[in-house]
Every structure is written in structure tokens, then in C-alpha cells.
């Protein structure tokens, strides 16, 4: 039997931008987001094993490969790029760069999302809690040690910035890592990629 599918009208709010879409009933949120240009959401295993496609959906971290696009109708989606950009990185993204927690970088967007979800709920996690919180994200370069350090660094910096809200990290004399500056200028050259 051939099934004739009828497209379904949905609305997604992704990184603050509203998208009114017609999607196939069998469309997966992962593919819909990538087709919209949010290619920081990585397509890894497509079976919920690797976490590379993790996004925040209404504030909750989920594998976007296991959500039908229609199930996300009306939802607020935040991807890694929605947390920060190369010019204005989020504290977590900066911590990943500073800790050397990025090797090939493919798992990083998902790792960052899971870190955000973890620190939102538990601002001062133990190493065990970090490893548990990130256990749905696989890193094939197996650089888990640095990733754990990145989360610890992010937690420290977030705690410091919330205890002294008037002073940003930079003003406290934190030198930007040379790598950071490279990344930032690289980003400026490529300008607006993924937006």
C-alpha cells in the first residue's frame, strides 16, 4: 500500500527566530533543523546513542533525532549556536575552547547543550555528576578528560560571574586564549555562517 502523506503546518522558535513550516508527518526534528540551516545540530547516529544532535526543547535537553518535527510544534528550541557565537561565545563554549575539550569538534555542540542542561539544574556538579550528566553524549576522539575539565571550568566561571554580576570575566583580567582570537577572527571572516 502506498501512503499519501499530508504535510502538517507547525511553528518552531529556534534560537529566538520563529519559523512557520509545512513538514512531512515523518520528518525528524534533527533534519528539519538542519534543513533550516541550523547545521550546528550534528547528525551522528540517528538512533539516540550519541547525543550529537542534542538541543534544548522548552529548556529540556533532548536528542533531536528522536523527536518528530510535529511533536516540536510550538516549542522553543535552542541549539549550540543559540547559546553563543564565535564573536560572543557563551561561558560554556569558551570553557570548552580554553580547556582543550574540542578535538574534531563533532560532538561539541551536543556536549555544550548537555552541559547547559546540567549546569542549569546543578551549578556545582561533582565529577561523577558531570560524567553522569554527559553520559548520553559520545566523543569518538575520546577526549572525555578535557570535557569534564571544561564543564568544571564553566561551572567555576558561571559561579564567579553570578557572584559579581557587575564585572564580566574579561574585566577580571582573564586573557583570551590566542586560539579564541583565531576562532573569533575566523568567524568574522566567514561571517554569519549558519544563521
Amino acid at each position: 500500500m502506498t501512503i499519501q502523506s499530508t504535510k502538517v503546518q507547525i511553528q518552531l522558535r529556534v534560537n529566538g527566530r520563529v519559523h512557520d513550516l509545512l513538514v512531512e508527518p515523518n520528518a525528524i526534528l534533527l533534519h528539519t533543523l538542519r534543513d533550516l540551516g541550523y547545521t550546528d545540530v550534528k547528525n551522528g547516529c540517528e538512533i539516540g546513542e550519541c547525543g550529537a544532535c542534542a538541543v534544548l526543547m522548552n529548556g529540556t535537553s533532548v536528542n533531536s533525532c528522536m523527536v518528530l518535527a510535529i511533536q516540536a510544534d510550538g516549542a522553543e528550541i535552542v541549539t549550540n549556536a543559540g547559546l553563543g557565537t564565535l564573536d560572543k561565545p557563551h561561558v560554556i563554549q569558551e570553557a570548552f575552547a580554553d580547556a582543550g575539550a574540542i578535538q574534531c569538534g563533532f560532538c561539541t555542540p551536543g556536549m555544550v547543550i548537555s552541559t547547559k542542561a546540567l549546569l542549569d539544574r546543578n551549578p556545582d556538579p561533582t565529577e561523577e555528576e558531570i560524567r553522569e550528566g554527559l553520559s548520553g553524549n559520545l566523543c569518538r576522539c575520546t577526549g572525555y578528560g578535557q570535557i569534564v575539565e571544561a564543564v568544571q571550568l564553566a561551572a567555576e566561571r558561571l559561579a564567579r560571574s553570578s557572584s559579581s554580576p557587575s564585572s564580566s570575566l574579561r574585566e577580571e583580567g582573564q586573557e583570551a586564549d590566542p586560539e579564541d582570537r583565531l576562532l573569533a577572527s575566523d568567524g568574522a571572516k566567514r561571517g554569519g555562517e549558519g544563521s
Binding site: I3, N26, G48, N63, L68, D73, E132
Partner: protein, 285 residues
Amino acid sequence: MLPVFEVKRPATLTEALEALAGGTNVHPIAGGTNLIVDTRAGKIAPDLVVTISDLAELRGIEIRDNKIRIGATTTLAELAESDIIAQHADVLHQMSKSFANVLIRNRATIGGNLVNAAPCADTAPAFLVLDAQVELASIDGTRCVPLDEFFVNAFETTRQTNEILTAVWFPVPSKYSVGRFEKMGLRKISCMAKVDVAISITLDRNGLCEKARIALGAASPAALRAVDAEAELVGQQLSTQRIETAAVKAAATVVPRSGSEYKREVVQGLVRRLLTAATEKGVQQ
């Protein structure tokens, strides 16, 4: 891409049940952690998928008539955060915190895990030791099935294709009951169980075992209770020797597949460990 299917987004349970009554190849979807993976793998090929995650009738955790009712689309993450569950059903609380990983717990539902009936479904043994029943609804009405009659075989339950599992019920456990859950897998966290063990015991004021439940997951095609091991404990002081006898009987319940005979030893060890810990806690109470 997934194979093509139609989708229906009902606003009420009745609408969902009507959709399910309309054909045999109609599948409800809640968290999607099984359905999407199985559809992609070609294990199922739905004609129609009915979204049920937003139905109010299937949500919430409440105490009613001295029973705890958990709506079927309650996620494992919601279960882990529930004060009612943490206070009254420690075995379920422990299970929910060790279920897969955060990303999966945020989507996977208790109803989906039970209906899928994988031999290694973590929810199954935890609910079995709580004497849980599942509530199944169709357009013809609602029925309740004790969980130990619900599981038939691996990935096979007594649910009819026109039924939706709407809730899980169990009596509020005695405040003197102690539950424990542990799994053995290939990783410390975020793994499929190679063996699941859930126990729940209640000791009376003299330290005698009033009630005992032991259930195993991934140790046979369907999750099951180790009733012979339970019988070993009831009315007895839970001495080291008594616990060992029960652990040996629990191990004998295992139905290993070729190459998984080791599961008997794992079950024996886990049952011993959990019963010992629960007895210590139970005596203090």
C-alpha cells in the same frame, strides 16, 4: 528519512482511541525513543502514528484511594524528580535515576518502556516489586492488568493493538518497606541492562520479613518475579544464610540464552547485595 506514514494529533484520549480503532497498523507515539528507532530499522512500518504525549489524561503522578497512579506519558526524568515517588517508592526512584541517560530520560516514558517490553526494560522489574497494574484503554472501555500477567514474551504483551496503556497503578507501599534497584551493564552509566534486579522488603517490629518481592530484568525473555526466592524470606529473620538461600533461588529463575549463563551468578550476587542492604535499612526503621 523515515518510511512514510500519516500522523494524527488528537486533542483528547477518546480521539486517540478512535484513531487506534481505525486500523491495525496504527502506533501511538509519546517519547519516540523506541518508535522512531524501530521505524528507522524497519522493525515496524506504521501507516498512522498518533501523538499522545500531550494528552492530559495520560499525565501526572498522584495518590488516590491509597494507590499511586502514574500517567503513562510521565517521562523517566519526571519520575526521578517526583517527591511522591522519592518518598513512597524508593525502588522506582533508584531505577529512574539509572535509566539510560539524561537525554533519553527526558523523552522516554514509563508507558512506552512497559509496552515495548524489551527484556531489559528497567521499569519492568521495579514496577513488578510494587505489585503494579497497568491500565489499558480502548474505545470499548478500560481494563486493568497485573503487571506479571502483562508481559508474555520478549517484546510481547497482552496489550491489544487498539489499546493505549494509560497509567500504572500500585498500592502505596508500607512506610516500613525498603526497595532497592541495581543493574549490571557494559558501562557504569547510560547502558542497556545485562541484568536488572529490583527488590522490596518489609520487616515487622521483631525483624521478621513480612513481605518480600524480588524481580529480575534482562534475565529471561520477559521480566519476572523470583517467587521461590521471595517465599524463602517471608516470616523469617533475614540472616546472611537466609539471604544466600534466596539469592541462589533467584539465580535459578534466570532463563539464560546461550552464552549468558553468567547471568545466574550476577543475579545471585546482586540479590545478595540488595537484600543485605535493604535488611540493614529495614532493621533501623
